[in-house]
């Protein structure tokens, strides 16, 4: 498990840089004092509060304090909700993660069969259609897909609800909306990966054993073409979360996306910082997990 330790160690500088970027932005922008005090506060009041908050310290001291607070799990208090920022985020995290995972499942269920189909029927009408759909799928903005889905499946044919996250039916439109772009990307990748694997000699070996073609594809081609697909899931995850922020607005989904937008509109910096940090952490964890899956899947890495 030495590699795990190494990848964890590599994360630390990335996280530090990230906190630095976010902190610098807030340092430049934030004026928590004016936000916290009433309009008619005197200059003296301001000075007292500034000192109390440690805002008169130089940049690097403030940054170190901020880091220290963060390590203790203190991301500050949302002035709008008057609650610890981290709690606000974790309360809503489950909804966002559920949405993202559902979208990921949608993408997997669409892309793997379609990608394999397109590769097996290479250069036929089917292949052309699948590739065409995936290119268009990638070009459509997700919020537009969401609105169009609402138009068709909630307005014209009222099958699914359009907002909230109360029942399984509520999940359908948002997860499809968020999953389309990833499905399109993955279909292309699965197709390319299968095409590469199918040319490999060991596939011919399997055939030369007298193995049935369906098993040749299922056992030898599919398993081997899965490896790059796992990698792409890790790489695409930040985009998925980013997409979730927008999709949540379209469907009034009670996740961190909406929390973030409210926080941005009200300059609630503690919440913004906490969200950025949590998302970055999730991304890193996802990358670590895909890395582990990758190693488990591919014996060439596991046994070296």
């Amino acid at each position: 498990m030495g590699y795990l330790k190494r990848s964890l160690l590599q994360i630390i500088p990335s996280l530090l840089i990230l906190t630095l970027i976010v902190f610098a932005l807030v340092y430049v922008a934030g004026d928590p004092v004016s936000q916290m005090l009433p309009e008619n506060a005197t200059a003296e009041d301001r000075a007292i509060l500034t000192e109390a908050l440690g805002l008169d310290e130089p940049f690097h001291i403030q940054y170190l304090q901020y880091l220290g607070d963060m390590i203790r799990g203190d991301f500050g208090t949302s002035y709008q909700y008057q609650e610890p920022a981290l709690e606000l985020v974790t309360e809503r995290l489950a909804a966002t993660l559920t949405l993202s995972l559902m979208a990921l499942s949608v993408a997997i269920f669409i892309s793997i069969p379609l990608g394999i189909l397109a590769a097996l029927k290479r250069n036929t009408v089917i292949d052309f259609l699948v590739s065409g759909i995936s290119v268009v799928g990638k070009a459509m903005p997700n919020f537009w897909i969401g609105i169009m889905l609402i138009l068709f499946f909630a307005v014209m044919f009222p099958i699914f609800p359009v907002s909230g996250a109360d029942s399984p039916l509520h999940f359908v439109l948002p997860s499809i909306t968020l999953g389309v772009a990833l499905a399109a990307e993955m279909t292309r990748l699965v197709r390319a990966s299968v095409l590469e694997v199918i040319e490999q000699e060991y596939v011919q070996t399997a055939r030369s054993k007298g193995q049935m073609e369906s098993i040749v594809i299922g056992k030898h081609v599919f398993l081997n073409s899965l490896i790059p697909v796992v990698t792409i899931i890790g790489l695409q995850f930040p985009q998925l979360i980013g997409g979730a922020i927008v999709v949540e607005t379209v469907f009034s989904w009670p996740g961190i996306g909406r929390l973030l937008l409210t926080a941005i509109e009200t300059s609630d910096m503690a919440v913004v910082q906490a969200i950025v940090f949590v998302i970055a952490l999730i991304t890193i964890v996802v990358n670590l997990v895909t890395d582990i899956i990758y190693r488990v899947l591919d014996p060439r890495i596991k046994y070296n």
């Binding site: 290479r122 250069n123 040319e199 490999q200 000699e201 060991y202 011919q204 070996t205 399997a206 055939r207 030369s208 054993k209 007298g210 193995q211 049935m212 073609e213 056992k219 030898h220 398993l223 081997n224 899947l297 591919d298 014996p299 060439r300 046994y303 070296n304």
Partner: protein, 336 residues
């Protein structure tokens, strides 16, 4: 399929033509009117440069042509019946059990994701699905021992990348033997290996051939390998057989200029490296073959007549055919 009569050859390929077409372009004839037979227990070598059609010939026999390739003429009889008329399923059932194949690259011919034992077990189970898991595993280990793999139990649990090239090729042979086939096609099985390993693999194939009476088609570009192993040799050039003889006849009296060229390019123990003469020029572009004799542009003995006349395969002595309008006289090989 068991009691084969003594007089029918194991495999008989007659006037085989295999073409490849790429995306609606005109098709290319890769195997052109190839005929030969393999008798039970016989090792037939097919020799030629890459692009000569030797590998495609073997893929045509196995029914493993890649997309775009199709057999457009001729027949392939296995134990007396034409296998080209069989359904895909019947064709598949021949593979493994009746005929199997070893490929050139032991690096890439084994599935990197699966342990050695499960790759052998897969081949065993196709032929004997009723056997228990335990029995299949025992058989797999037996097969590994048969191909002289030391510490077979340990090797069975490894993954391909953990084995050396020679070991992997032995595993490939074990897989090919799993169904106890009567015909083994070895497509350049030693090309990717070093000289010592090469000799061991050759010895193994020859041994299996003697012990089990397996007919072998041995495909290679290296004439020096042929002398050790083959009973009969076919030399292919640009999709056609240009010379066919017993291994003794071929080495003693080679008659096609191409064969002679190959022999001159062959390193022997007593020759210096500088004496090797590679054949000048390149193998012809199959899409655009020269008129007349395909070897004409590279032939040191070519005459005006070779430019237009398409040579037929002629029998000069019994069992020795050559496709050349003026076969080379004896002694040419040894003059400088």
């Amino acid at each position: 399929m068991t009691n084969n009569e003594q007089h029918t050859p194991l495999l008989s390929v007659d006037h085989l033509v295999t073409e490849f077409s790429a995306k609606g372009n005109k098709s290319i004839t890769v195997v052109d009117d190839v005929s030969f037979t393999v008798n039970p227990g016989e090792i037939v070598a097919i020799v030629g440069e890459s692009g000569s059609g030797k590998s495609i010939t073997s893929q045509s026999i196995m029914g493993l042509l890649k997309s775009g390739g199709s057999i457009t003429n001729g027949s392939i009889h296995y134990q007396g019946s034409n296998i080209l008329t069989l359904s895909k399923k019947e064709r598949r059932q021949l593979r493994g059990k009746e005929m199997s194949m070893i490929f050139q690259e032991p690096m890439s011919s084994l599935n990197p994701m699966l342990r050695i034992k499960s790759q052998i077990a897969e081949a065993l189970r196709i032929n004997q699905p009723s056997k228990s898991k335990r029995e299949t595993m025992d058989n797999a280990i037996d097969l590994l021992k048969q191909v002289e793999i030391p510490d077979a139990e340990a090797v069975a649990n490894r993954f391909p990348h953990q084995l050396s090239g020679g070991m992997r090729q032995r595993v490939m042979i074990a897989i090919a033997l799993a169904g106890d086939p009567k015909l083994l096609i070895a497509d350049e099985p030693t090309t990717a290996l070093d000289v010592t390993t090469q000799a061991q693999i050759l010895a193994l194939i020859k041994d299996l051939n003697k012990r089990n009476g397996t007919g072998v088609i041995f495909i290679t570009h290296d004439l020096s390998v042929v002398a050790d192993i083959a009973d009969r040799v076919l030399v292919m050039y640009a999709g056609k057989i240009v010379e066919s003889a017993t291994v003794y006849d071929l080495f003693e009296h080679p008659q096609h200029p191409y064969t002679i060229g190959l022999m001159k390019a062959m390193p022997t123990l007593d020759s210096q490296v500088e004496e090797l003469e590679p054949i000048s020029g390149n193998a012809p572009n199959l899409a655009n073959k020269p008129e007349g004799c395909a070897f004409y542009p590279r032939c040191p003995f070519a005459t005006e007549a070779c430019l237009t006349a398409v040579p037929e395969l002629r029998t000069l002595e019994k069992g020795h055919d050559v496709r050349c309008i003026h076969p080379v006289k004896e002694g040419v090989l040894h003059e400088k």
